[in-house]
Amino acid sequence: MSHWPILPILLPLFAGALLLILPSHERLKRGLSLLATLALLPLSLYLLQLADDGQLRVYALGDWQPPFGIVLLLDRLSAWLLLATAVLAVAALLYALRGDDRLGPRFHALFQFQLLGINGAFLTGDLFNLFVFFEILLIASYALLLHGQGAERVRAGLHYVVLNLTGSALFLIALGMVYGASGTLNMADLSARVAQASGDQVPLLAAAGLLLLLVFALKAALLPLYFWLPRAYAAASAPVAALFAIMTKVGIYAILRLATLMFGAGAGELADLTQAWLWPLALATVALGAVGALAARSLQMLLAYLVVVSAGTLLAAVAIGTPQAHAAALYYLLHSTWVVGGLFLLADLIARQRGDKAGALVQGPALENPGLLGGLFFLGAIAVVGLPPLSGFLGKLLLLQALPSPALWGVLLLGGFAVLVALSRAGSTLFWRIGLSSLDSAELDPGRLCACLLLLACALLLVLLAAPLLDYAQAAAAQLHDLPLYRSIIVEAAP
């Protein structure tokens, strides 16, 4: 048993713990935090390559074999999401190191714990353990959201915390029902038992599965449950908002596991339990998210609605349920995480040059670097809307190809068009409807610019590396649909 799969959890855990007990020496803390986050990058690349042989790497904690102990499970999907997290985290941290981390104490420790929770949620193969990692990432995110303080953050934070605590309560109820009805919490084992469920078990498991869907949909920002998101993301400080771009993806990842492994096509009487709900809700999320983007009054709010739109798009792809659609979703997931993260950073760079107007979409002072920031905004907007030649186009194209009937293209395309209109309007307000003089106080920080460039450059990189990435995404999606492979980890372990 190789120990590699647990490193993405241990590394931020120890770094975060050290950051808590070390004396508050700023350079030391920044160095340690940066080192730990940078180390995730080669680590996730190595795990990506390790998982590419198509085998499942099961890491039994405490050497308790599944289904009795908690296992970590590294497959192509987990490795893919670890990479998405690592790149985003490096950029967000680089940005924060230029001053945002000073806004409140313990930023770096919280940042590491947040990474611990996210990586753990992607790696675990046990439902209760997933709950624990969700709580870790949530409590770190509560504190990070409030980082920098201010009334608006407290107001948004209160809603976010109360909603997520209620979500946690429902999660526990669902787990209780799963355990009561099937006697297991291991995802692979549950997959096999759901398939054999009969009689009284079926409605109980169906209720538990739908409750789980509800909880994950709250994290993923699906239609009736996304109202907390725009305010929270718009209020968060820039590096935190950028890092939060991966948070909805944790929910989407969990729904993907639910819709393939546990209640997917191979689930016997409960096959495709979630599909009927996901389809209409995901498309409605795209539509309402686009309306929200059109109505947004600040750039940050607009970007927060883009997160909602991308979540809806991804969940629609999850709901289609074919390996082709899932491969497209995985590619689109990388794109939307990185580009939207980059746009959050860019929005902060723009806001810093507009004095007290900040990100509000009203006439403001001229920017110090209109060409550079405007160009970046243009590139980012093209990528996120899905116009050629950047990554969004490729992602959307793959998704449209995977749709079962062309009649459904309308929602995605109209949604994309609305976002295009919203972004053009925001861009022309920010860069063209301006006063004559710029504020002298605002200097463009090269470090912040680099962090933002790193993420926006991913839009280009994703196109250049599209062939190998797509091969990988297709292999990952095919692996997801290979249920016997996942179920075999239980059989192998039995004495």
């Binding site: 309560a169 787990l175 009561g180």
Partner: protein, 119 residues
């Protein structure tokens, strides 16, 4: 036993949800607490209510120890979260000047017409 347990859970969750939907932070926090009690009891019941001590050899019919371990974890996490939300509510009171969950001043019909806050 089962009926009593079920009724208790129902009353706890109903009260919790009711309080959760109130407009002030204090009832909301209480509602979250009640809801988490109900959830913990529910998890506990998943190991069946009939078993004895969960030690092999002590009794012929040991209870399932796993739900007990789960409940312990859930209690610890729930406690920490409640503490956090209490602090956050106090912070909201300080920053926003009132204890409404939306941070709005009072909008009660009885408040004075000049917009002054009730209480």
């Amino acid at each position: 036993m089962e009926a009593l347990f079920a009724v208790t859970l129902g009353v706890l969750s109903a009260s919790g949800v009711y309080l959760l939907l109130r407009g002030r932070t204090f009832p909301v926090v209480l509602g979250l607490t009640l809801l988490s009690y109900a959830v913990n009891l529910f998890l506990f019941a998943m190991g069946r209510l009939s078993g004895d001590v969960a030690v092999i050899g002590q009794s012929a019919n040991p209870a399932d120890p796993l739900p007990q371990a789960l409940v312990l974890t859930a209690i610890v996490i729930g406690f920490a979260m409640t503490a956090f939300v209490v602090i956050l509510a106090l912070r909201g009171l300080a920053e926003l000047g009132n204890d409404h969950v939306d941070g709005r001043p009072d909008e009660q019909p009885h408040s004075p017409a000049d917009g002054g806050r009730a209480l």
